[in-house]
Symmetry: C2
Subunit: 333 residues, 2 copies
Amino acid sequence: MKTLSVAILGFGTVGSGVYETIQRHQNRLQKITGFPISVSAILVEHPEKHQNKAGDAIITADIDKIASNPAIDVVFEAIVGREPAFTYLKHCIEKGKHIITANKEMFAFHGKELTELAARNQVTIGFEATTAGGIPIIQTVKRLLNVNQIDKLQAILNGTSNYILTKMREEKATFSHALKEAQQLGYAEADPTNDIEGYDAFYKLMILSELIFAKQPVWKKVRRTGITGITPEMHIEEAHANRRIKHIAEITFTNDTISASIEPVAVPETHPLYAIDGVSNAIHLQADILGPLTLVGPGAGSLPTASAMIEDFCHIWGHPEVPASPVAALAFP
Amino acid sequence: MKTLSVAILGFGTVGSGVYETIQRHQNRLQKITGFPISVSAILVEHPEKHQNKAGDAIITADIDKIASNPAIDVVFEAIVGREPAFTYLKHCIEKGKHIITANKEMFAFHGKELTELAARNQVTIGFEATTAGGIPIIQTVKRLLNVNQIDKLQAILNGTSNYILTKMREEKATFSHALKEAQQLGYAEADPTNDIEGYDAFYKLMILSELIFAKQPVWKKVRRTGITGITPEMHIEEAHANRRIKHIAEITFTNDTISASIEPVAVPETHPLYAIDGVSNAIHLQADILGPLTLVGPGAGSLPTASAMIEDFCHIWGHPEVPASPVAALAFP
């Protein structure tokens, strides 16, 4: 009987979460796909540091050992940054491998090109994990809102900045104090620029734009303001008016024009994102038949991200009961 | 070119919403299904009251005119109550028609039997609209959480009772005052028993139980307490402790046993259902890989319910996005 053979690129928080999830849920995965799954190879920068950490999987720094191995069916990509991830994935797609990526920066830049390349090579790209962690927003748009058109979307797409804003409000703490706490808890990195300046949310918003509207706004025209200028006093002042400061990523499509922004916004108590606290992410969208829909869940973390990737995996190998969703085609009739 | 021909059973708020949505979104539906759609027949109790309200559609009180018409492909059912809806749908399924229903009471009672009958007749049943209005909770569970297992679910499944509780809290109003207001706004019926005593939420919870756990708890063992005993004083008291009274439908699955309840619960500010006000519905679930996921949206209404039904329609007629040919070969060797 054939075994589905997969490779994982990157073995940090996300890559090892994918590995653990595949090991732990062998039975479920076999039931869904019809085949046993085996992790055959893991790509890391320094293979000597990772020996004996992943059963029989080959640990290698050489992408060609994965791309050129005809037995490997699917590649999970959990590297950070545009390169070498983009080059690696192009290589794998050209060799006929399905791709599942969690790499938001790379996919915001190169998602369209990779998608077209995948279509030409008759493979699929899953990118649920690039946006809003475990929340199935990509597949909700792709598979569940086929007739509905989305006019507007507001979201909290970065758990780190939301955690910092929450701590500042709850404890009347300064930005730098809350940031330090986030770093101690592992929610923020040593260099937190990507999170607190809104770059991370920006990449995710661009991926959503491409998915929903089949194009992105001109990047330089997107207002992007971080949260470093927020003070405890601002939180107190807004609280008096029953408002909370949230770092909101927003995108609207009117008169054939996309406008987008990422900036701190004081939202009233009635706003669907008012109650979203801590490291959670949330997406609030307006669909033209359904009306408002909000999804809330974990925006990052090893298992939530692995969940998004492993569900993508089942969409590749699962049953054709799953329908198409030409949302992009619909957006431009 | 073939036209997809559909019938609508019932022409109240939901049935007419489906009719309008099909008329308005002809282009989108044709793009997705590949065919023009036509509403050929509408079933009502008193046809004489509905003449000239639905273009060329035949208005009839005779289900046999629909069930025995081989041209009709899909039947949208928007009747209230178990009978005659159940008998009608059985009849239509046996004649090879796909079914899309919004009838929660009927489907809670007979969903399993109808599903089995549909499988034998090689047709499908869409029931997204039975539960939580426009929120795509059924399809999220069916299509997006394939590997994840759901352990627990808490939800606000009745917009009317949630509206009443919200008004009581915000305006320090009595139950009967808030109920009257809900009736004036059309949110509550003249006989509000189903909503305020939790029967409506109970039916929806049973449908979710069948979907998620493939069985239902013994109905008599489900605690069901309505909201008629709630006073303005209770709201005030809970508000002092930063809690809000919500009518919560809950279901858990532990040690092979399902336990379920529908009852007023005072939830703290950190609870994911605390901020759900007015006629909104919300479902908060715990999935074992993903973690917590909350969906919020309109729990009723003509267009949100029509949205759920028309998206179900596209799942019947849509095309498989994957697999591309090499995948198909592997998935079905």
